[in-house]
């Protein structure tokens, strides 16, 4: 009943009881409740029948809009296939099956409630549990009473269609590395705490009070506690350091591993040979803090997957024709020679020949060109094209993994090679030198003292290694970058890892893709020029464009707004050319200049695509449709062009060049009709001129360029959509903040340098005492954690303060829908 006031306030437009959107197109009433579409109504009916209307009490209008839901009965038929089932489920025995679905629609408490009461809708379900953050639901069901297919069908009927990807089928899921880190952290924390406990008396020279026996006991207990730290918690550092050494490079983990080993062996030496207390408590503290830093970093972002490949794009199942009968099979079982049926708005899964008379294929996904290409019977359609219009039949020519698109994807040039020295991150460069310097000083001290007193020499050698153990150095980078990444994440900018930030700071050229990146696909700008349109002609045009799914028609449709279409007859769509229909005695046609035979026009080609209107042979006017630029870009790009070299690459024709020049400024160099390969080549050329390039793109057609550039950022309006392999994902609406992000990456670099300075100071002081053999365990124990903690505090406060000053920190967290 809480909905009542809401509805009265919005008295003009009634909002749907299920999804809360306005009932503009149609209004369905059931039980005195309003629904905007049959989809929403069906869900309500299903829930009502099963006494599940609590769903609507927990949150107001909890549902998702179902207007655009695909309703085809057999589209889940592939879930009957044994192979598919085996790949999707987690566990199965004779009685029950466990399966985990990802459901992007989960967004409120009602969703949780409904999904966890699934057993009321399907008695075969014995258990269902939602993980809200991960948007997953784990379902256990009895294999005898229900099936995977019927559960998926049920979920999609109540508006919670699970997302099932082909790439899910391809590989094993479930990485447990996250948990391992927590175990390591727990062990390190436990051991560290207890070691501190046993070492405390030493700090205050209280051991003498307790007597020598205790001293020894404490030392041996410390060794016992240090074993799991070294041999369990530290294993990842050893592994990483070993890998780096084997590849003849030095990374951050080498000095850490070296420090751990020297601390441990020297402490053993001290305890067993010289009878002193060693530095095991320091060792425990070092690992504990290091792992905390690592966990913090990992926690910052682990939910996004950046490396989804082309498979995530493709449909999971395809309708195959077997003797005039439709069979739905999983895509993996598609063979060359199969006849498949592709419906409106479906992707062509493999390179195939067209068997029907004509088709209209939208390759925007591959080339970036938004206008569909007409294809005639017998011509080849490449994988990745999207059919616009009626269903077509195709004969498959190549298996999905050999098509043009996959070729493109697997092109050698497209794979980003692992970091070379030139790209090695700041921290690694410094830590490499650092390690050598420390070793040099340590050996110097050893040799110097070696002439007079060997025991002081050994002490100086090891204390140099220990006191300079680069824990402050090692922690400043992950903490700063982790912080920067978290702040970026708040602003809708998600990075693959922290190294990207360092690379981002060194960028000097920017390359933008046009379609979908700078321009928002949904917001085309329509202008009309010609005779005045009467109300009736507007309604006629509205009716006409309603018949077409062509993007230009859609744009005109939107432009016309909410008017009543008239009833037309003899509507005919000539794909790729135009539309024609009769209204009363009038003939109305809409389409390209060529199709209508109207003389085009000297001013053609300056502003977007043109659609001409002819009524009864009389030329009326022209609609110009220009892709519209995202908000804030007009300011952002010229600003960026002042400090960076800015390029624009587009798969489109150059008909918008003048408009773009005007909007984006003259400093942008523009390149049109770029194929994915020429985009890649463009980036390569720039890199040969020693430019460090940031590529901002969106579609698969940019995938190569995104990979080749130093930093590739994929722009997306919807996170559950595919994004090509990239270094970062940026929310489309936040693209205008890109200069801030670039700026902040540089600030981050400065903060790291400052904290390096800080820890170098600590180290210098430490070395000064250490080479003289003056370091006592107390000093070591105090200096080390103090330096680490102060560096961590410094970076955390500095990054947050800078973010606050730049206004990046106070934005609300963006929740992806």
């Amino acid at each position: 009943m809480e909905e009542m006031p809401v509805r009265i306030e919005k008295s003009k437009i009634v909002s749907c009881f299920h999804c809360g959107e306005g009932c503009e197109d149609e209004l369905l009433v059931r039980d005195e409740k309003n629904f905007c579409c049959t989809g929403c109504l069906t869900v309500y009916e299903v829930l009502n029948e099963n006494n599940l209307c609590d769903y609507y009490d927990i949150e107001v209008t909890p549902g998702t809009n179902l207007k655009e839901q695909e309703i085809r009965d057999n589209r889940f038929d592939y879930l009957d296939d044994e192979d598919v089932i085996n790949k999707l489920i987690d566990f199965r025995d004779e009685e029950q099956t466990h399966v985990t679905f990802t459901i992007p629609m989960i967004h409120c408490a009602s969703c949780i409630w409904l999904l966890e009461n699934l057993y009321k809708l399907d008695p075969g379900v014995t258990f269902s549990r939602v993980d809200f953050i991960k948007k997953k639901v784990q379902i256990k069901f009895s294999s005898k009473e229900t099936s995977l297919k019927s559960i998926v069908k049920l979920l999609s009927r109540i508006g919670y269609e699970p997302r099932i990807n082909l790439s899910d089928l391809g590989e094993e899921r479930g990485l447990k590395s996250d948990k391992k880190l927590i175990y390591q952290l727990a062990v390190a924390g436990f051991c560290f705490g207890n070691m501190m406990f046993f070492s405390l008396p030493e700090y205050f020279s209280e051991t003498e009070l307790l007597g020598n026996g205790f001293n020894h006991l404490f030392n041996y207990l410390n060794i016992l506690l240090a074993l799991p730290v070294v041999f369990y918690s530290a294993t990842d550092y050893f592994r990483s350091a070993w890998l780096a050494v084997r590849n003849r490079s030095v990374n951050m983990d080498v000095p850490i591993a070296l420090g751990i080993i020297s601390l441990f062996t020297y402490s053993l030496f001290e305890i067993f040979v010289t009878g002193q207390e060693g530095y095991l408590d320091t060792l425990g503290g070092l690992l504990f803090f290091l792992l905390v830093g690592k966990y913090y970093q990992q926690k910052t972002f682990d939910t996004l997957s950046f490396d989804r490949d082309y498979k995530a794009y493709f449909p999971i199942a395809i309708t195959k024709m077997v003797k005039d009968r439709e069979v739905v099979i999983p895509l993996t079982k598609l063979d060359v020679g199969d006849i498949v049926k592709v419906r409106n708005e479906e992707l062509v899964p493999a390179d195939s020949l067209l068997l029907d008379a004509k088709a209209s294929i939208d390759y925007s996904f591959v080339t970036g060109e938004a206008i569909p290409v007409p294809v005639k019977k017998g011509e080849l359609i490449y994988a990745g094209g999207r059919q616009k219009g009626g269903a077509i039949k195709l004969a498959v020519q190549k298996s999905p993994s050999q098509g043009y698109l996959t070729d493109l994807w697997n092109h050698d040039a497209f794979s980003k090679e692992e970091q070379k020295d030139s790209l090695a991150s700041l921290a690694n460069q410094i830590s490499g030198k650092f390690t050598f310097t420390v070793l040099f000083i340590a050996f110097g001290a050893l040799i110097y003292w070696g002439f007079s007193d060997v025991s002081i020499g050994v002490k100086a050698f090891t204390s140099v290694l220990i006191i300079t153990c680069p824990c402050a150095l090692a922690m400043s980078t992950p903490f700063t970058l982790g912080n920067v990444m978290r702040i970026f994440g708040k602003g809708g900018f998600y990075l693959k890892n922290t190294q990207v930030i360092e690379k981002l700071a060194g960028i000097d050229s920017l390359v933008f893709d046009k379609t979908g990146t700078l321009t928002a696909p949904s917001k085309a700008k329509v202008s009309y020029q010609g005779e005045n349109l009467s109300e009736v002609s507007k309604r006629m045009i509205k009716a006409l464009v309603n018949y077409s799914v062509h993007p230009l028609s859609n744009s005109i449709n939107q432009w016309l707004g909410n008017i009543d279409p008239v009833l037309l007859h003899e509507v005919e769509e000539i794909p790729g050319k135009g539309l024609q229909a009769k209204y009363k005695s009038k003939t109305i046609s809409l389409g390209s200049a060529l199709f209508l035979g109207v003389g085009p026009t000297d001013n053609a080609g300056n502003m977007g695509n043109e659609v001409h209107l002819v009524i009864d042979g009389m030329y009326w006017g022209v609609f110009r449709i220009a892709s519209s630029i995202r908000e804030g870009i007009e300011k952002m790009v010229p600003d960026l062009a002042n400090s960076y070299e800015v390029h624009l690459l587009s798969g489109d024709h150059n008909h918008e060049e003048q408009y773009l020049k005007k909007a984006l400024g003259e400093n942008v160099s523009m390149h049109f009709q770029q194929s994915p390969k020429s985009k890649l080549a463009h980036i390569r050329n720039m890199q040969e001129d020693r430019k460090r390039v940031l590529m901002v793109g969106d579609g698969l057609n940019d995938a190569g360029a995104l990979k080749a550039s130093e930093v590739g950022i994929a722009v997306t309006d919807n996170i559950s959509h595919f994004s090509p392999a990239s270094d970062g994902i940026l929310d489309g609406g936040k693209l205008n903040h890109l200069p801030d992000y670039l700026d902040f990456a540089k600030t981050g670099r400065k903060i790291i340098k400052a904290s390096f300075g800080l820890s170098f100071t600590y180290n210098a002081v430490g070395i000064f005492f250490a080479v003289q053999g003056l370091v006592s365990p107390v000093l070591c124990a105090i200096l080390m954690p103090a330096s680490s903690i102060s560096v961590v505090l410094f970076t955390t406060i500095a990054t947050n303060f800078q973010a606050y000053r730049k206004g990046l920190n106070d934005k609300e967290m963006i929740l992806w829908k």
Binding site: F91, A109, T126, A186, V187, F190
Partner: protein
């Protein structure tokens, strides 16, 4: 002062016990999802849930 030996033993056993409990909780999935249970506990159980079939134990 010999009582310290006993105390150390007890403290280690206790701390180790907590570590073990933490591991057990971790393995049992108690930390997998820290958000949903907070919402779940607020749902009313209006109907007598006759379908209170025992959720099958995890077999892994």
């Amino acid at each position: 002062m010999e009582v310290i030996f006993v105390l150390i033993g007890i403290s280690l056993v206790m701390a180790g016990g907590f570590l073990w409990l933490f591991f057990k909780a971790m393995k049992g999935g108690q930390f997998d999802d820290q958000h949903t249970p907070a919402i779940r506990i607020l749902f009313d159980q209006k109907t007598k849930s006759k379908a209170n079939k025992k959720p099958p134990k995890k077999k892994k």
